[in-house]
């Protein structure tokens, strides 16, 4: 019997527990009376719709001959990846991190630094061994992901010894430290950042082509989305959500919670690193602003705007944030003046964010 049940994910998952025959019947009855039955839940429709629109959008834009929007949507998808990765620790893990921009920025700087060295034909480092710069995404991006994850591992290892406001302060402090390190790197533009000559190549693909780049971003987004979806429903995700709800009980049941939270923190850092590598390519410009705490705040706003602790919410939040920013900043320089009230309205009236509000009935 195929029964479905609603979880805290706001997603419907099959509950195929093979139970003892007598009890399974009884169990099944309870399930059916809950009434979701075989019908697809709204969240699944919305997910399908979202990715279908993103997949088809370039065709429409080609007809309209609107390349500006293509770039903007690429940007939204990239921030969506960063927001999804933040949501992993913020929404599912309950870790209030205000340092996520650090990992985003590190990813971008890996791209920037390798690009500059590649352009000048200089070595990335000469000691202890000489390391030449590459311009292929297949090398550069994994390095960006790895270094971001490593930074997250180090920062998390210390910050996760605390919780609540102290955790927030520590992640903020570490991120600002990294910000100032990059500001002081004069050979890489210091305060001003640096321009890239061109985007990376990806196994012969020309990413300077905006359409190609769009689909690469789309592919990365889809990949990250699916990975997080699996991870959240897997044993690891159960532990992560358990730690958010009642860490003390988790420990009493036998979970060394610190390790699991640290792993989640590092994975989120890795996701942000990928987003950073993409944004560096997208803008062909990398600056310390990407690591500033304001960026961490914006990523957090995206998550809250779309729906904390939902799979699709952060992506919607990134789109809402960037599209509204784009429209408003075209009208007035003081766009934050109008964006602020919009945010307050969403938080007050659409509890759980835009997407979270739509699927609220599926959530407990």
């Amino acid at each position: 019997m195929q029964v479905t049940k609603t979880t805290t994910l706001g997603e419907t998952v099959a509950l195929n527990e093979p139970l003892a025959p007598a009890s399974s019947q009884q169990h099944g009855k309870v399930q059916v009376s809950h009434g979701t039955g075989r019908r697809w839940p709204l969240s699944r429709w919305l997910t399908l719709l979202t990715f279908a629109v993103l997949l088809a959008l370039p065709v429409l834009l080609a007809v309209l001959d609107n390349s500006f929007l293509l770039t903007l949507v690429s940007r939204c998808m990239i921030y969506g990846i960063a927001a999804i990765s933040l949501n992993l620790i913020l929404g599912y893990g309950g870790m209030l991190s205000l340092g996520h921009a650090a990992f985003f920025g590190i990813g971008a700087y890996v791209v920037g630094i390798t690009a500059q060295n590649f352009m000048y034909g200089t070595a990335l480092m000469e000691w202890p061994f000489e390391l030449a710069a590459s311009n292929d995404a297949i090398v550069v991006w994994p390095v960006a992901i790895l270094l971001s994850a490593l930074a997250a591992l180090l920062i998390g290892a210390i910050s996760l010894r605390t919780s609540g406001v102290y955790f927030l302060m520590l992640t903020l402090a570490f991120a600002q430290m990294i910000y100032f390190i990059f500001v002081s790197l004069d050979q890489y533009g210091g305060d001003d950042g640096m321009n890239l000559m061109s985007r990376n190549t990806l196994l012969g693909l020309d990413l300077d082509n905006d359409l190609t780049f769009y689909y690469v971003c789309f592919g990365c987004l889809l990949l990250i989305y699916l990975l997080v979806q699996r991870l959240i429903a897997a044993r690891f995700g159960m532990v992560l959500r358990g730690c958010k709800q009642n860490e003390q009980r988790m420990q009493a049941m036998g979970f060394p919670t610190y390790r699991y939270r640290l792993m989640a923190f590092a994975l989120a850092g890795a996701g942000a690193g990928l987003a950073g590598a993409l944004i560096g390519n997208q803008m062909e410009y990398v600056s310390p602003n990407l690591l500033h705490w304001k960026m961490s705040g914006e990523l957090m706003v995206m998550v809250l705007l779309g729906g904390l602790g939902t799979l699709l919410g952060p992506l919607w939040g990134a789109f809402a944030f960037l599209l509204v920013e784009d429209v408003l900043s075209g009208i007035t320089e003081h766009w934050m003046l109008f964006f602020g009230p919009f945010l307050i309205l969403v938080v007050l009236f659409a509890k759980g964010g835009i997407y979270g509000y739509l699927i609220r009935k599926e959530q407990p």
Partner: protein, 254 residues
Amino acid sequence: MSTTDTPWALEARGLVKRYGQLVATDHADICVAKGELHALIGPNGAGKTTLIKQLSGEIFSDQGQIRFHGADITRMPIHQRAHRGLVRSYQITSIFEEMSVIDNVALAVQALQGHSFRFWRPAASDARLREPAFRCLERVRLAHRASVLAGNLAHGEKRQLEIAMTLAAEPSMLLLDEPMAGMSPEESGQMVELLQALKGEHSILLVEHDMDAVFSLSDRLTVLVYGKPLVTGTAAEIRNDQRVREAYLGEEAA
């Protein structure tokens, strides 16, 4: 560190826990034999929960030593004690309110089965988690509520879930902190039945205010007053002990 030639499942000696000036546990000795149901009673604020916390590893003791099946676990963190088979339940219900009832228990089962760095297979369709979890729910008569959100359970049901989660860890020893707190007489009756069934399978340290239940269930009792064990003995011995009457049973025994 021999683990076999001791009659004790749990052996705590000279435990001390201070909260500032207050000595919550004051050089307490408590020993629970293998398979024994040992009750810990005492007036409110006597330090029963504090002692449970020290034994389970939630807090470390300022002084003293704890042995579990002969092995010194004094400095062992709580999650490792759980893996050794020493698991507690909570006086104030401590469950995962935003998860379904069965997910609560499945998580407790999961804690046993090696590490949880498993990122791919959905836990909700994993028979290795679901089947044992469901059996635990049947045991506490909560199976019919398996898919309900834990936060939506009635108080008594939450207490049952609390026990199911403890049992799911397949512990050799249970530390139960007032499992019947706030239960209706009918629910308490069921809990006594359950404890009766668990007795013998597990070593149990039971903190409980319900004297009828305590006297009918326990092999031995320890009376705790101001963090210090006053006397340990069988139900009959405790009932007839003058000091206990004065210190604790007071009105009831008079």
